[in-house]
Structures are given as structure tokens and as C-alpha cells.
């Protein structure tokens, strides 16, 4: 029997092994073998993860009724200063156990799904290698015991995201999207890096446990300030920026919609279920510090979440590319999670937001993965991402249709689907804590239902049935199986007693169900569905007229509030033209020019004084004479 430590090490170890093998021998292994091998290895990982996670929750995690963080493995990787060192460790606590399950489970689903979805691709081994790399990195991230370790895997996750978005490397749009995703998240990571530097300096450690200990026990010890704000606040804010980048929070969200250029299963895995919630995870990981040492900041984070949720939802209403709509909905849902964290406090009842947030993370992973995989199936069928190319697919893809509907209902927060429970908890937390955030999120809930059902109706109803692309069916069992599993999950996950397992302080949080409170959101959602049905159930002219009536507002929303353009302007016009170009110009002309000018002026000086060497012997003698007398005068009158 394996020890716990061995088992836990195997969890990231197996994907790493898979990555190395598949990557190194990508040319040698036939595609289907690679896919099968990758999936089987992933399956083993998932089993191990589930085992560890459930073991943690049910068996060895709880001591004295409190879930204790434990470190079953620690390797001193890179000593930095006397106090700081980057350790490669495994931290097991409720959050990481939860994430362990989510990541490996969704990853397995995507692995299975991809066997069918990617089967025509020639570089399938590479694809699986990248998937394994991602899974490895993500698992490493969630289990990191050390904030620098987290950063390391954070970056690796970014890399694998880059590689997978750019998987179709010959498609310029894919390359662009990959670069954009990498650079934007990299920019955000800069904040995180600086935050880590500050927090490690102040906290005299890089390990999460001691950091949290240090800041929660003695928050007043923080010495430095910058611009009148305590350095810890800066650190936490900067770290949040890192999380915001990865989680596509406003205004660092611009990469996520473009990232949909990657293969759809990848979008499901990385850009819906796992990687993008890393920001939520990050704040959850440091939650005690945020909640105790920087409550004001946390409140601000909540506002950012709310803004993102609303903002993304508005844009989602106007888009026509189904993956992009899903991407915006992801953004919106992550906004919810962040918002929920923002309205949470540390410990007991006030920690409801924390629990709700992670609960939503969990349910969202299920139903959003489901939605993406469905979308994948649809795209696979229609060979287009555009909503207008679809419609009336209800009969043609019955399973997909059903699953998609489940997903939509879940995300819209219709009971008894998973999303309802988590959303209800989040809204309740917000209601208790901050009314502004509450109303924003309430409104967004309605919008969510609207745009999701707009999507749903446009795909499956809207037009009459058309017999196009009848060359293949809905997809093989490999594609359908994950849909069904996830669909079941989306239906049933809400009934999990989540608060018992995951809470801000490790003590079980018994969440009550507030029937009266939840009527309003549900009604709003139903209203949203109704409006969507009104407009999109059948193809109607009214859409056009409504859109026209909204005028500028619609155009702005459709143009994604022109955030991309602003970025373009700042990077291309300002940074490029006003910093990079001058830098290169200065180097070429000023500094290099100076060096060359020194050389040239020496040469030209030597040309100017050549007249002294006139070839005339008498002139030589004259200069000689002047030299002698001059020297004599100097020697007698100055130096003697």
C-alpha cells in the first residue's frame, strides 16, 4: 500500500511523466495510442486525487473538528536568503483538496472528450502532452505550499495555456491570441511577483502557513509604508492583480475571449473550469490575510468582482460567437466568485461568502465545462462558431441539447440545478454584507439567464431544422460520455453539503437555506429566460428593432466597451512609439553615434593637424626652436 506521501506525489507526477513521454516521443507514437495513454494516465491521477481529496475530507483532514492544513511533502528547492527559501511542498487543506478533485476530474473529462474531438489532428500526441503539462502545472499550483512555488506553477500554467491556445500555430489569429493571453497574464503576474517580494520581506517567509500565521497573529508589526499605505496592503493588492490577470477580471480580461481560438476542449478545461479560477483560488489561499489584515482591500476586490460580473454579462448579451459568449459568461461567473470573496469575513458565519465562492467555483467548473464541451460538440457538427450558422439543432443533437439545457439552467440559477445553490449562497452573503454589490449581482443574475438562453434558443431552436452536414452524427461515445457525466454533476452537485467541508477557518459552516430570500433571484432569472425566449425562440424582426432602439449602448457593448482598442492604443501607440522606438533610436543614433563620433572626430582631428608635418625642414627647425624656448620659459618661470 502506498503511503499518503507517495500517493500525493504521484498526482502531479503522473501528468508530468505523461508530458515528458508524449512530448519527447510525439513523432514516434501514433496519435490514438498517445490519446489513450494520456487518458489512462489521467484516469489514474483522477482516481488518486479523488482518493486523497475524499480521504482528506472524511478521514485524516480533521483534527479536533477543524480541518488542519497539512504538509505531507516538502523539498527545499532554492534557498534565497537566510529566512526565505523556495520550497517545493504539498499543502493539503480543504481548498487544495477541493481543487485537486475539480482539476483532475475536469481534466479527465476533457481528456476523454478530446479523444474523439481531436482524432483527426496529426499532432494529437503533442496536444495530449500539452494537456498533461497543464494538468501537472495546475495540480502543482493548487497544492503549492509556498507562495513562490505557487508562482512557479502559475507561470507554467500560463505557458501551457499559451501553448494550447496557439496549438493551431499556423493560424495567425491563434498565434495572436496565444501571445495576447501570455503577455496580459504576464503583465498581471508582474504585480503578483512584486507582491510576493513585499509579502515575503514583511512576513519573513514564503510558506503559506507561516505567512498566514505571521499576518493574522500580529498584523500591526508591518513596518513599511509606501505613499502612505502599508506595504502589506500594497502586497495584497498586487497579488490580487496577479490573480485578476489569470482570472480575467476587469480590466485584465481582454485575453480570455481571444483565447477561444484554441481547441474547444482546451477552452473547457483551462479557460472555463480550472486555470481561470486560479485567481479565486489565490485569494482563497491567502484569505485569512486578506480578511484580517486588509478588510478594506477585500471590499474593493469585491467591487472589482461585481463590476466584472456585470460588465461581462452585458457584453455577453451582444456577442454572436458562441465560444465568446461562453467566455464572457465565464468572466461574469468568476466575477461572482470574487465578489463573494469580497463580501466574506474570516471565520464562522461571516465566512459564508468564502464558502459560497468556492462552492460556486466547484459547481461552475462542472456546468461551464459541460457548456463548453457541448459547444465543442456543436462546433464539431456545424464547423462554425457563429450563432447565425446554427439554429434548429434540437433534433439533430438530442444529447447535446439536453446537456446544454442543463448547463444553461444551472448557470441561470434555476433550482434544483447546481448553480442555484451556490449562487443563492453568494447572493445571501452579499446581501448581508454590502447592498450595492448585492444589487449588482442580482441584476447580473437576471442578465445571465437572458444571455444564456439567448444562446440556447439561438442554437437549438430559432430556425427550422436544416439538414446540413449530415455526414456525421452527434459524436461518438467518447464525446458524449463526458457530457453525460458532467450533466449529472451539474444537476446533483448543489446538494453536496459544501459548507461542512470548505470554510474560511476550517470549521464546518452550516449553511441555511433561505427560501424567502431566493425567490427574488430565481424570479429574475426566469424573467431573463422569458425575455430570451421572447426574442430568440423563433427568428424575429423584433431583435433588430430592439437593438436599434438601444442604439449606442448596444454598439458599445458589442464593441466590448472598446477596452481592446484602449489597450491597443496604449501599447501600440504610446509604449511602442514613445518608449520603444525612441529607445532604439537613441541607441542607434545617440549612444552609438557618440561612440562613432568619438572615432570619427579623432580621425578628422588627425587630418586637421597634418599640416604640422609639412615636409619643410626649416619649418621643423622653427617649431624646434619655439619648442626649446617655450620649454625653457616654462621650466624657468613655472617649474623651477
Amino acid at each position: 500500500m502506498m503511503t499518503l506521501q507517495q500517493m500525493i506525489l504521484l498526482i502531479p507526477g503522473i501528468p508530468l511523466f505523461a508530458f515528458l513521454m508524449l512530448g519527447l516521443f510525439s513523432k514516434k507514437i501514433p496519435g490514438n495510442y498517445a490519446a489513450t495513454a494520456g487518458t489512462i494516465l489521467m484516469g489514474v491521477t483522477t482516481v488518486l486525487s479523488c482518493f486523497v481529496a475524499f480521504g482528506y475530507f472524511t478521514a485524516f483532514g480533521k483534527i479536533d473538528g477543524i480541518y488542519q492544513p497539512m504538509i505531507p511533502f516538502l523539498y527545499h528547492w532554492l534557498p534565497l536568503t537566510d529566512l526565505l527559501e523556495i520550497n517545493m511542498g504539498i499543502l493539503l487543506d480543504p481548498i487544495s483538496a477541493l481543487m485537486l478533485f475539480v482539476v483532475s476530474f475536469i481534466s479527465l473529462m476533457v481528456h476523454i472528450y478530446s479523444m474523439a474531438y481531436m482524432k483527426d489532428e496529426s499532432r494529437i500526441a503533442v496536444y495530449y502532452a500539452f494537456l498533461s503539462l497543464f494538468t501537472f502545472a495546475m495540480l502543482g499550483l493548487v497544492m503549492a505550499s509556498n507562495i513562490f512555488q505557487l508562482y512557479i506553477f502559475w507561470e507554467l500554467v500560463g505557458l501551457s495555456s499559451f501553448l494550447l491556445i496557439g496549438f493551431y500555430y499556423q493560424k495567425p489569429a491563434a498565434v495572436r491570441a496565444a501571445k495576447k493571453a501570455f503577455i496580459v497574464t504576464r503583465f498581471a503576474d508582474l504585480g503578483m511577483l512584486i507582491g510576493i517580494l513585499i509579502i515575503s520581506y514583511e512576513g519573513k517567509s514564503l510558506d503559506f502557513i507561516s505567512l498566514i500565521d505571521h499576518f493574522t497573529n500580529s498584523p500591526q508589526q508591518i513596518s513599511g509604508t509606501f505613499l502612505g499605505i502599508a506595504s502589506l496592503q500594497w502586497a495584497l493588492a498586487l497579488i490580487f492583480i496577479g490573480g485578476a490577470g489569470k482570472s480575467a477580471l476587469f480590466p485584465l480580461h481582454i485575453w480570455l475571449p481571444d483565447a477561444m481560438e484554441g481547441p474547444t476542449p482546451v477552452s473547457a478545461l483551462i479557460h472555463a473550469a480550472t486555470m481561470v479560477v486560479a485567481g479565486v483560488f489565490l485569494i482563497a489561499r491567502l484569505f485569512p490575510v486578506y480578511a484580517i489584515a486588509a478588510p478594506v482591500l477585500l471590499e474593493g476586490i469585491g467591487y472589482v468582482g461585481a463590476l466584472t460580473a456585470l460588465f461581462a454579462a452585458i457584453i455577453a448579451c451582444t456577442q454572436t460567437d458562441i465560444k465568446r459568449i461562453l467566455a464572457y459568461s465565464t468572466m461574469s461567473q468568476i466575477g461572482y466568485m470574487i465578489l463573494a470573496l469580497g463580501v466574506a469575513g474570516y471565520g464562522a458565519e461571516s465566512g459564508l461568502g468564502f464558502t459560497a465562492s468556492l462552492f460556486h467555483l466547484f459547481t461552475h467548473a462542472l456546468f461551464k465545462a459541460l457548456l463548453f464541451l457541448c459547444a465543442g460538440a456543436i462546433i464539431h457538427y456545424v464547423h462554425s462558431n457563429e450563432m447565425r450558422d446554427m439554429g434548429g439543432l434540437k433534433k439533430l443533437m438530442p444529447i447535446t441539447h439536453l446537456c446544454f439545457l442543463i448547463g444553461c439552467l444551472a448557470i441561470a440559477g434555476i433550482p434544483p440545478f447546481a448553480g442555484f445553490f451556490s449562487k443563492e449562497e453568494m447572493l445571501f452573503a452579499a446581501y448581508q454584507h454590502n447592498r450595492i454589490i448585492y444589487f449588482v449581482s442580482l441584476f447580473t443574475a437576471g442578465l445571465t439567464a437572458f444571455y444564456m438562453f439567448r444562446l440556447y434558443f439561438s442554437i437549438f431552436w430559432n430556425k427550422p431544422f436544416q439538414q446540413h452536414h449530415s455526414h456525421h452524427g452527434e459524436g461518438g461515445p467518447a464525446m458524449m460520455l463526458p457530457l453525460i457525466v458532467l450533466g449529472i454533476g451539474s444537476v446533483s452537485a448543489g446538494f453536496i453539503p459544501f459548507g461542512k467541508w470548505v470554510s474560511s477557518d476550517g470549521r464546518p459552516l452550516i449553511s441555511h437555506f433561505h427560501l424567502s430570500f431566493s425567490i427574488l433571484p430565481v424570479l429574475l432569472s426566469l424573467a431573463g429566460i422569458a425575455i430570451a425566449a421572447f426574442y430568440f425562440f423563433k427568428k424575429k424582426e423584433t431583435v433588430e428593432t430592439t437593438v436599434n432602439a438601444m442604439g449606442g449602448l448596444f454598439r458599445v457593448a458589442k464593441g466590448k466597451f472598446y477596452i481592446d482598442e484602449i489597450y491597443q492604443f496604449v501599447t501600440k501607440k504610446i509604449i511602442f512609439n514613445f518608449i520603444a522606438k525612441p529607445a532604439a533610436w537613441i541607441d542607434k543614433n545617440l549612444i552609438d553615434g557618440l561612440v562613432n563620433a568619438m572615432g570619427n572626430s579623432t580621425v578628422s582631428l588627425s587630418n586637421h593637424i597634418k599640416g604640422i608635418q609639412s615636409g619643410k625642414i626649416q619649418m621643423y627647425a622653427g617649431i624646434f626652436l619655439i619648442g626649446v624656448i617655450g620649454l625653457a620659459i616654462l621650466a624657468i618661470y613655472y617649474w623651477n
Binding site: 608635418q613 615636409g615 619643410k616 625642414i617 627647425a621 626652436l625
Partner: protein, 105 residues
Amino acid sequence: MTLEPGLYHLLTISTGLFFIGVYGFLTRKNLVTMLMSIELILNSVNLNFIAFNKYLWPHRLDGVFFTLFVIAIAAAEAAVAISIVINIYRNNRSINVEQTEEMKY
């Protein structure tokens, strides 16, 4: 300075002669006349030596011997110089100093 000729008078003559020679060397255009100026220069120094020997250090004959050897050297120098001048004349058919300004800068 008195009228009575003494060391300073002799030194004045020699120095004058010296710089007359220098002037000649600087301005003459003919190589032979330049050589003549050099002879003047060397000769003026002889006067210095003799004068010093006579008026200041008569207990030894250093100045006298110096003069003797300078004269000998002047002769040798003049001989070599003139042979070179003649060679230049052979090559150029002229002993103008401007003929010797080919190499410059």
C-alpha cells in the same frame, strides 16, 4: 656692462652669432647656404667654450678640448652633408630646399 671686453661681451657675440645662424637656417632656400648657417651655429658655441675656459675655469683645459673636437666634428658633418647635397643635386639638378619636401604629412 662695462666697455672693457670680458666674459659677457664674448657671450653676447657668441649668442648673437648663434641666432644669426639660426635665422639663416630658418630662412635660406639653398641647401648649401643652410649648411653655412649650421657652421655659424657650431662655431658660436666654440667661442662660448673658450670664453668660459679663459675667464672662469682656467685651471683645466676642458673648454679648449671641447672646442677642438667640435671643430673636428663640424668638419666631418659638413663633409657628409655636402656629399649628400651633391647627391641631391645629381638626382634633382637643383639644391633648392624645396626639392626636399616630397615627403610630408
